[in-house]
């Protein structure tokens, strides 16, 4: 009998919980923008990244998260007088992470697109991003025009995939979608004849395995890297942008860029 009573209790708790879940709607966010105060109160900026996007943000041999974006963000938060917390996330759920306030920004080689601008607040661009084509070192493909019906690998859901869709020269090519860039590179030369990805990433891997593949000269498209904030977090966005402008002026940004790319690629004015 006691077992039954316990059961009734458990089940009613579950029922009550689910009713609550169905009945409650999303709480109305207050209209005033307290985003800057919010991170200052928390004394930290939580940066969301997928920690597998070299050289912007990735896991190094000592299992520390490093990269160009990370160095920039560290300097920005230092100047703001708060800490930087790096939070690895699943890239597919970056919007939910932002909305749920489990992270404060996406700063991980995020390419601007109109669709993204609907989901989050995008900062001014800090760097150009070219979509480039990679081919095996000995490939006969010299330019985009040489692509007929060959296989071209891209990361699914990436802006590289969008760029491939919009490129006239590739309309007959067979597009193969992969989960990440490493998978594409492993396949390049075996299955795929060419690959399309962000230039900075392509350069990173080309340097890592010299003599294996080359980057073609013609770009598919030129896009912009931005920082993604929660919709409405204007004050926080402006503060970060201002800090980056100061860093550009005093040469800090150039220094960080040279460390990762050998030259100043930043486009902040």
């Amino acid at each position: 009998m006691r077992v039954k009573k316990l059961l009734v209790l458990c089940v009613s708790a579950v029922l009550a919980g689910s009713m609550l879940l169905a009945g409650c709607s999303k709480k109305e966010e207050s209209k005033t923008d307290e985003s800057l105060q919010y991170v200052k109160d928390n004394k930290e900026l939580i940066l969301g990244l997928d920690a597998s996007f070299p050289p912007m943000g990735f896991t190094d041999k000592d299992q520390k998260i490093v990269g160009f974006d990370i160095d920039m963000a560290k300097e920005v938060t230092k100047r703001m007088g708060i800490k930087l917390k790096l939070q690895p996330i699943n890239w597919d759920s970056k919007d939910q992470e932002l909305q749920g306030k489990t992270i404060d920004c996406i700063w991980n080689g995020l390419t601007y697109s109109e669709d993204r601008a609907k989901e989050m607040l995008c900062s001014e661009s800090y760097m150009d991003n070219h979509q480039v084509m990679l081919v095996p070192e000995k490939s006969k493909i010299k330019s985009l025009k040489d692509i007929k019906k060959q296989q071209v690998g891209v990361q699914k859901g990436s802006t590289a995939a969008d760029a491939v869709d919009k490129t006239e020269e590739l309309k007959n090519a067979k597009i193969v979608y992969f989960g990440n860039n490493v998978e594409i590179l492993n396949d390049l030369g075996n299955g795929c004849d060419a690959a399309v990805m962000d230039e900075v990433v392509a350069k990173y891997y080309a340097k890592k395995d010299p003599g294996k593949f080359k980057i073609l000269n013609d770009n598919l498209s030129t896009e912009k890297y931005v920082i993604g904030f929660r919709t409405g977090d204007e004050k926080l966005k402006t503060e970060v942008e201002n800090q980056l402008k100061d860093m550009k002026k005093d040469g800090t940004l150039a220094k960080i860029s040279k460390k990762w790319f050998g030259e100043d690629l930043t486009t902040i004015k």
Binding site: M1, R2, V3, K4, L6, L7, V8, C10, V11, V14, L15, L20, L21, C24, K26, K27, D50, A51, S52, F53, P54, F58, T59, D60, K61, Q63, Q87, P88, I89, N90, D92, S93, Q96, E97, Q99, G100, K101, T102, N180, N181, V182, L185, N186, Y205, K208, D209
Partner: protein, 223 residues
């Protein structure tokens, strides 16, 4: 050629050591806590599933259908993002994974319990009844110990699945060994991280398999 193979193998112990210190703790926390909560909740659910009272049985059946009928990966999203965005309940990532895994595995465990409980002959209940055992005593002293013996093989199998399923926790940002290995692969471009992660899962399951083997042997004193 030989040299490069040797070189490749020489990398593995370092990677194993790295994974031991990064990610393994998360994997083990999810595994063990899911076992504790899942096995307990599973028993309650099994009893609820078997009761004559429709007011309890029907919701439990619905629960079992939802939990077993939808992908675990979606339930993980639901428990982490759903609760947060809908109700503003923010659970720590690993704990959210533990909750989602426990609720999901409890459903599978419940059905395994049920299969075991229903395999016990009615004569056992009758013998306990005429001796004056209460319902609770009958269940815990007479029925459950026999159920344990019957359900050990399917439970062992389910636990091995759980070991592998812990890798799904990365979708809500839990840094378990699979995603740690994958992140390292992005840097190094080498498959060796994934291979070592695979070996880790294999070793964990060899241990699970061994433990269940020992338990089954212990229960083999009667038929």
């Amino acid at each position: 050629m030989i040299d490069s193979i040797i070189q490749w193998f020489e990398k593995l112990p370092g990677i194993a050591d790295m994974l031991l210190h990064n990610g393994l703790d998360q994997t083990l926390i999810i595994f063990f806590l899911t076992l504790v909560f899942g096995l307990t909740l599973g028993l309650v659910l099994a009893l609820g599933r078997m009761t004559r009272f429709k007011i309890i049985q029907l919701p439990v059946r619905f629960y079992l259908l939802i939990m077993r009928g939808t992908p675990l990966i979606l339930q993980l999203y639901g428990f982490y993002f759903g609760l947060n965005l809908l109700l503003g309940i923010r659970i720590e990532r690993t704990m959210a994974a533990v909750v989602a895994f426990s609720l999901n595995y409890a459903a599978y465990f419940a059905e395994i319990y049920r299969s075991g409980i229903q395999a016990i002959p009615n004569g056992q209940y009758e013998a306990a009844k005429v001796l004056g055992f209460s319902k609770a005593q009958t269940f815990f002293k007479i029925i459950l110990p026999q159920v344990v013996k019957i359900i050990l093989p399917p439970m062992g199998s389910e636990c091995m699945t759980l070991v592998k399923d812990t890798s799904l926790a990365h979708v809500i940002g839990v840094m378990e060994i699979y995603v740690v290995a994958a992140n390292n692969m992005s840097r190094s471009r080498g498959m060796e991280y994934l291979i070592v992660a695979g070996i880790f899962y294999l070793i964990m399951n060899m241990i699970v398999s061994k433990v269940f083997g020992i338990l089954e042997k212990r229960m083999s004193y009667y038929r």
